[in-house]
């Protein structure tokens, strides 16, 4: 159906670009709130694990300029997305360093900060648990003793009486038999530490409650409707009386999905009529938004000497931190998918979420797939070498193909896996040896494949309103968030393609839960697919209304009408051409001087009607948890300095099967951006904690993210297009995926360079320089 598209599939300037380069784009902190704006500060826990014995706020309340103080006594209710294990403010226990204990609302930020210093908290310090292996011991202290009382959705399985927040198990085939059939088996452990999103805009929320009991919030968020829903349930306010306005977001990457610090500004209820602003400092952003889960994985894989994988046992222990509400879905999603993009007949997966006294963890671009691919894709290289097959060929042999059975026994959607592998291998010139003129430098290449499915509830919905104006231009109202990924440009293109309105006559409006229709959340790389489908339905709805009124007014056959260049045309009458501006608001005057029609609007909504999350908890079978997978591959060429251990990626190639690139340029931009974000996590990003659970590197000097200096000299983004039958013009999502192959590709390149197999991220210069000097070092061949 996308054969002769005019807009879809062609490059365009992003529709938000002009606003962003002129400064017209407003982010939450840029909005004016007038002289009665108040500021909030947060008293943070200095302890990773402690009982709260008493909180004395009396001095703070007396401090001039302080308007209100709130503690857990004011907000005893728990909340959360998949499991309600989070406190707005804790009542009796703190569970990580940096956790909010009390908030102060004051005339200025300085006064609010002073107020916080006057709050006295008595703690009984408990031993912190900072390692999943300790948390899983029989006699471990329970971080959530009341786990059994928390509300949870039906397909999440917390284990009361333990520190386990959720388990997802897959049991397919017979793994023991699979290992017996194998000629070679490799088992090993891999570790990926906590990292952070590091959006350049920190979290920010402004909230106002008024005497009509209406709560209005301006949040930097990927999830306005989900926040409204959580807030309505937690506070007992009707949904219609909560209004969440989402201005532009300065980077999300999952960090602004769901709800985190936005729950605190609801303390504005104590000062009705005043807007109250809370903006995280960079340090607070590190500690108290959300981090990426730490993963300890054990991978056991068996293969035949011909290179066929016979069995996989994959045990993943996720450090979800002090609360798992959203992070539990990371545990869940990876449980279904931790085979990697391969057909494997016998599979056993245990994906286990484990509470610790680290900061809470939740969604981060890749949603757990980056972490488990590090182990799987490191393993793929090691096994290939051990059985004497080229690592790229080994991946080809096992690559998941269209209709292959995945781990939960559903069938794979159309898959361009082989094409991705081949094109990336070709782009990186796989197999071509290169030698540096500098004797200290080793040049090597590394490869990794990847896949990912959107992780979302089976009934996650998207909806769209399209409304015309007098001049035939349109405003598209969505609550899918433009977080930089280019979503609104894609939405505009879908509307443009079907309604034949040029892009410069289309605006796509940022979310406002009062006015824009429902959207579950902008996460999971599902929006191009799902909101795209809803947009197409809305555009078709508007088109049907246009045909209806035109056919009634002019007595024409609806079936012979079509749209072209913003006009209604008639197959049967080549001279008929009615521009939109002639009727989309006013309607059409009939021969009797009456009018038919009226303002044209289109509505469209979408949920996937074939998914089912209710699987057997012991085997993971019986459901259809994912809508589809997007597959791809990535490769790097590195220059490794043997003296300093410094690894520089000089070239990269990544290819993903996005079904149909709505905007080829923007797809490539996602590949480049995701790659560089992945490169930071591969080489040096890591949250460093002391033995009391305090994070030590909460700034960009000690927690480095890539700068322009780390950009490889050559970057080759590759688009593969095997259409998704139920996708808009065949599209499926690809933005998160681009980060996934990077850690293992670089690790594999290091192993190929000097035989050093690093199983512990990040792949720092120290590890590279020092490990080969140790006595027991055996080079991987």
């Amino acid at each position: 159906m996308s054969k002769n598209t005019k807009v879809v599939g062609h490059d365009a300037v992003r529709i938000d670009m002009e606003e962003k380069i002129t400064g017209a784009a407003l982010y939450t902190d840029d909005l004016p709130f007038g002289p009665n704006l108040l500021h909030m500060s947060v008293l943070a826990s200095p302890h990773a694990h402690a009982e709260i014995l008493n909180i004395d706020t009396s001095e703070a309340e007396k401090f001039p300029g302080v308007m209100a103080v709130a503690t857990g006594k004011d907000y005893p209710q728990k909340f959360g997305l998949y499991l309600q294990d989070k406190s707005i403010l804790p009542v009796d226990r703190v569970r990580y360093v940096g956790e909010q204990v009390a908030v102060v609302i004051a005339r200025t930020k300085e006064i609010a900060d002073e107020g916080c210093k006057l709050i006295k908290v008595d703690y009984k310090i408990l031993e912190p648990i900072l390692d999943v292996r300790d948390a899983l011991k029989e006699d471990a202290v329970l971080i959530h003793p009341d786990l059994g009382d928390y509300q949870v959705i039906p397909w999440i399985n917390p284990q009361p009486g333990t520190n386990i927040s959720h388990i997802r198990k897959i049991r397919k085939g017979d793994v023991e038999k699979g290992f017996e059939e194998a000629d070679f088996i490799l088992e090993d452990e891999y570790h990926v530490p906590h990292v952070v999103h590091a959006c350049i805009e920190t979290h920010i929320s402004v909230a106002r409650y008024d005497y009509t009991k209406r709560l209005t919030m301006w949040n930097s968020t990927q999830s306005p409707h989900t926040q409204r829903h959580i807030m309505a349930n937690a506070l007992g306010i009707p949904h219609k009386d909560i209004r969440i306005i989402a201005p532009y977001v300065g980077g999300g990457f999952g960090g602004k999905a769901g709800i985190s610090m936005e729950a605190l500004t609801v303390a504005c209820q104590k000062v009705p009529g005043y807007p109250v602003k809370l903006r995280w400092s960079r340090k607070e952003e590190f500690l108290n938004s959300s981090q990426r889960q730490e993963l300890r994985a054990t991978v056991k894989m068996g293969v035949t000497k011909e290179g066929k994988i016979t069995a996989l046992r994959h045990i993943m222990h996720w450090d979800v931190g002090a609360s798992a509400e959203y992070g539990n879905n990371v545990v869940n999603a990876t449980g279904f998918s931790a085979t990697g993009p391969y057909y494997i007949p016998n599979v056993s997966i245990d994906s286990v979420g484990v509470y610790t006294n680290h900061p809470p963890c939740a969604a981060y671009r890749g949603f757990g797939y980056s972490e488990f691919h590090f182990g799987i894709e490191s393993h793929m290289d090691r096994i290939a070498k051990a059985i004497g097959i080229d690592p790229v060929e080994f991946r080809r042999i096992n690559a998941i193909k269209t209709d292959d059975e995945v781990a939960y026994k559903c069938h794979m959607n159309p898959s361009g896996m082989l094409e991705c592998i081949d094109k990336v291998a070709q782009a990186i010139e796989w197999g071509k040896e290169e030698v540096s003129d500098d004797p200290d430098i080793v040049i090597a290449k590394g490869f990794a494949s990847a896949w990912k499915a959107p992780a979302m509830p089976p009934n996650a919905g998207s909806s769209v309103f399209i409304k015309f104006s007098e001049d035939g231009s349109i405003n598209v109202l969505v609550s899918g968030m433009e977080i930089g990924q280019g979503l609104h440009t894609a939405v505009a293109k879908f509307a443009s393609e079907i309604l034949t309105v040029p892009l410069n006559k289309i605006r796509v409006e940022l979310p406002d839960t009062d006015r824009n229709p429902y959207e579950w959340q902008t996460v999971a790389s599902h929006e191009t697919w799902e909101l795209g489908n809803a947009t197409i339905r809305a555009a078709r709805d508007a088109r049907a209304k246009i045909f209806d009124v035109v056919s009634r007014a002019f007595h024409l056959e609806k079936e012979s009408l079509y749209l072209e260049d913003g006009k209604v045309k008639d197959d049967l009458d080549p001279d008929f051409a009615l521009p939109f501006e002639d009727f989309v608001i006013t309607g059409i005057q009939t021969e009797f001087n009456t009018w038919v029609g009226g303002p044209i609007m289109g509505i469209g909504s979408f949920i996937p009607e074939f998914t089912n999350a209710m699987v057997d908890p012991d085997t993971g079978m019986g459901g259809h948890p994912n809508v589809h997978y997007t597959v791809g591959a990535g490769a790097v060429k590195i220059e490794l300095n043997k003296k300093t251990g410094v690894v520089r990626v000089v070239k990269m190639a990544e290819g993903f099967d996005c079904g149909k690139a709505i905007n080829p340029d923007l797809v490539k931009d996602q590949i480049v951006g995701g790659f560089i974000q992945g490169l930071g996590t591969a080489l040096y990003e890591v949250c460093i904690f002391d033995d009391k659970g305090k994070m030590l590197n909460t700034n960009f000097t000690d927690y480095k993210i890539p700068t322009i200096l780390e950009m490889p000299d050559e970057m080759i983004p590759i688009i593969v297009e095997v259409p998704q039958p139920d996708g808009p013009f065949g599209a499926r999502g690809m933005s998160e995926h681009t980060m996934i192959p990077v850690m293992p590709a670089v690790a594999n390149a290091i192993a190929n360079a000097i035989g050093l197999r690093i199983k512990d991220i990040p792949l720092t210069a120290e590890k590279v320089a020092l490990r080969p000097l140790q006595k027991d070092f055996v080079a991987e061949k």
Binding site: M17, T22, I200, E201, G251, R282, G484, I676, L709
Partner: protein, 158 residues
């Protein structure tokens, strides 16, 4: 305690009262309605708060407002008035930004680079932009846009 300072902001003369500890970023944002200079870290590490002061970029989050007394300040808001639209247009053409939060800082740093060095080589471009963090783009389009700006300027001169 409170002191009145004066400076030129995007071509307009401004007078504003500031406290001794107040940072230029906060005065620009909260007292003068400048929103292009952003808070990203408050510690001089990210470049989101970049403004131009007397011809050089500064991190307005590190600078005390009183230090700006008597200076000439330019921010992104003044670009079109000050005839610097071209940098913006070329960045736009390259789809150089994604979330856009870092864009003002990059545009200011680029403007400084091009006004001081009309013909920077690739390393000089990277060096000039290395203090601006972008988490979204991977820098590729930012880099190619600046290279094009340099080419255009060279073409005009020859």
């Amino acid at each position: 305690m409170v002191r009145e300072i004066e400076f030129t902001l995007n071509g307009y003369h401004q007078k504003v009262s500031v406290k001794p500890g107040e940072k230029l970023l906060d005065v620009l944002r909260d007292k003068l309605g400048i929103t292009s200079a952003k808070y990203g870290c408050g510690k001089g590490e990210c470049g989101a708060c970049t403004v131009n002061l007397d011809g050089k970029t500064v991190r307005s989050c590190l600078m005390y407002a009183v230090e700006a007394d008597g200076s000439v300040i330019e921010t992104l808001e003044g670009f079109q008035r000050l005839g610097k639209k071209e940098i913006q247009e070329i960045y736009q053409k390259h789809n150089a930004f994604q979330c856009g939060f870092c864009a003002p800082g990059f545009i200011l740093s680029t403007d400084e680079l091009l006004s001081q060095n009309p013909d920077p080589d690739e390393e000089e471009i990277k060096e000039a932009l290395a203090g601006n963090l972008c988490r979204c783009t991977g820098y590729k389009n930012i880099f190619s846009a600046v290279k094009e700006m340099v080419e255009i300027r060279k073409g005009r001169e020859s």
